[in-house]
């Protein structure tokens, strides 16, 4: 009893430290929400007020203007298309990497691992020229092409980690029963790898939803800009209309935050599996 009480008291500094970390993580979010709910004149109270006296949604209504909706749509299209291309291709490649042992496959695996480390800044000029030569500048296609380079190697790497843990015995049993290899892939491997597919999809979505460098360089008209580029434009345009800027920040972040919280468990296990098991 005595030792228990002592250990609880000993934990007080740790709990305080934990609160400090929670504060560090959450303070900027709190500030974003608070400013986004302030009526137009309140952000300028000095020193700043922590929470608005009269919270209002007017900033959200103002910020959800036609061009913002356009950016939103563009981001959904580009991220969605990238997921639809990258994840299936990565799944096929990962399957072949985990089920067969040819020398060329280990060369390919090494090439994929190495490619993860290529700096986007070092590849951007040639990709830009390629896209320009194909007359694709300022199109969805240009961004989807760029985003495949950003996501494909990591997706292969993540899915490979998952597929090595899907036992081969089930496929072998199916083969003995006379199932064709392709059938075994669709009926057995894909359902078993579903957590990995979900985790990889979330990862690709998070990466493409926030990609900035390629989107900034490859789009020139407002019609084609994605949310991060649009937000970057807003910094200048909005001038001192911080309420609207913060309201759009909340709206940009919400989709990924919601998706993330629903699929968190699978996602974190997928992420750490690769890193922890090396």
């Amino acid at each position: 009893m005595a030792s228990r009480g002592k250990s609880l008291i000993g934990k007080v500094p740790l709990v305080i430290l934990q609160l400090a970390i929670a504060f560090l993580v959450l303070a900027p979010f709190f500030w974003m929400l608070s400013v986004s709910l302030k009526p137009a004149n309140e952000p300028f109270a000095i020193p700043a007020r922590l929470w608005p006296d009269n919270p209002t949604l007017e900033n959200y209504i103002l910020a959800f203007r036609p061009e913002f909706r356009r950016y939103f749509l563009n981001s959904i299209i580009v991220s969605g298309a990238t997921v639809l291309i990258t994840v299936p291709l990565a799944l096929l490649a990962a399957y072949s990497l985990t089920r067969y042992q040819f020398r060329i496959l280990s060369v390919f695996l090494a090439a994929v691992i190495l490619a993860q480390f290529f700096p986007a800044g070092a590849m951007i000029i040639p990709i830009y020229k390629m896209v320009k030569a194909a007359n694709l500048l300022d199109t969805y296609a240009s961004l989807i092409i760029a985003y495949i380079t950003v996501t494909l190697p990591v997706a292969i790497w993540m899915l490979r980690g998952f597929l090595t843990r899907v036992p081969k015995t089930l496929e072998e049993a199916a083969a003995i029963d006379g199932a064709r290899p392709l059938r075994a892939f669709f009926d057995i491997v894909i359902p078993l790898a579903r957590p990995g597919i979900v985790a990889t999809t979330v990862f690709v979505l998070i990466v493409t939803w926030q990609e900035f460098l390629f989107a900034l360089s490859f789009t020139s008209t407002k019609e084609m800009r994605t949310l991060p580029v649009g937000m970057n434009d807003y910094i200048g345009q909005y001038g001192i209309r911080y309420g609207e800027l913060m309201a759009s920040s909340v709206m940009v972040s919400l989709p990924v935050i919601v998706i993330f919280f629903f699929l968190q468990r699978q996602f974190v296990s997928g992420l750490t599996a690769g890193a922890v098991k090396g």
């Binding site: 934990q18 990565a90 090439a111 900034l216």
Partner: protein, 287 residues
């Protein structure tokens, strides 16, 4: 049999065409001079590199890139590890914090940067308002506008955005540490610090190495935070390779020079990572 090749082929072609070809082409491009006024490339050999090596801006970019990378990687991993240790203590309220902690990492980089731009604002920012209330400063400080504080400010913002990733990976590693060994050390009379250094840290060391390498590469190439917070300024005080490549390539349309910066960024990154691995191996041998 055909599955092995057929399944691999589409991804292999994309990786080759969209990644390996551009990596090689960047170097070729850097041997040509292309400017906005003269869009037809003319071959000039290694002249661009010669110019860059004589240019103090280039060396500033190298120095900034290294300071930025070391700063962010150090904070992210040491901070991330300490926070993981704390979250591994089974304290009340930890479940919620463990889910909330990944929030900054999920937040889009541009949004995180806008948030911090606002946090650092001399008049309206939360940081200055906090310091002013405590009476530490009298007037708001322009953290991002002063060459002396700008680098520290962008490093801290990047730390905030990135540390959750390290924390989550370290937490997973800590939960894999063999508890019997920890107990055995306890019975041998090792205090908690001793247990940390003799049992826990050696057990998670491989994960730490992977984590440091990963964050080094990601940080070295990270564009969003600096671009939105300072655009590389003031006076290039926060300019690193990616922001410089964007500025030279798409601001001034000097593709050849941008490509040279790109090739050199790969070289600097490789040297940096190589050095890191060397130090790591030395330490393992010494231990």
């Amino acid at each position: 049999m055909w599955i092995a090749y057929g399944f691999m082929l589409p991804a292999a072609i994309l990786v080759a065409v969209l990644m390996y070809w551009p990596m090689i082409d960047t170097f070729r491009e850097s041997l040509y001079a292309t400017t906005f006024l003269n869009p037809n490339p003319t071959f000039i050999g290694l002249k661009t590199y010669e110019q860059l090596f004589g240019d103090s801006t280039f060396w500033q970019i190298v120095r900034n890139s290294i300071i930025w990378t070391i700063g962010v990687v150090f904070l992210q991993n040491v901070g991330g590890f300490l926070i993981a240790l704390l979250l591994n203590q089974k304290l009340p309220g930890q479940g919620i914090l463990r889910s909330l902690i990944l929030l900054p990492w999920v937040l889009p980089g541009v949004v995180a940067a806008i948030l911090w731009r606002f946090m650092y604002d001399p008049q309206l920012g939360l940081i200055n308002s906090f310091f002013m209330r405590l009476g530490i400063v009298e007037h708001g400080v322009g953290w991002l506008a002063e060459p002396s504080t700008a680098m520290a400010a962008v490093i801290f913002a990047a730390f905030w955005k990135g540390f959750p990733f390290s924390t989550v990976v370290f937490l997973a590693a800590l939960q894999n540490v063999d508890q019997e060994q920890v107990e055995a050390a306890k019975i041998d009379g090792a205090g908690s610090l001793r247990r940390l250094f003799d049992v826990v840290i050696p057990a998670i060391w491989p994960v730490a190495v992977v984590n440091v390498l990963l964050t080094t590469i990601l940080t070295f190439n990270y564009f969003d935070i600096i671009c939105v917070l300072t655009r590389g300024g003031p006076l290039n005080a926060t300019a690193i390779f990616p922001t410089r490549i964007y500025e030279v390539g798409f601001g001034q349309f000097k593709f050849g020079e941008a490509a040279a910066y790109g090739s050199l960024s790969v070289l600097v990154l490789v040297l940096f990572v190589g050095l890191l691995l060397l130090v790591q191996r030395r330490q393992v041998k010494a231990a």
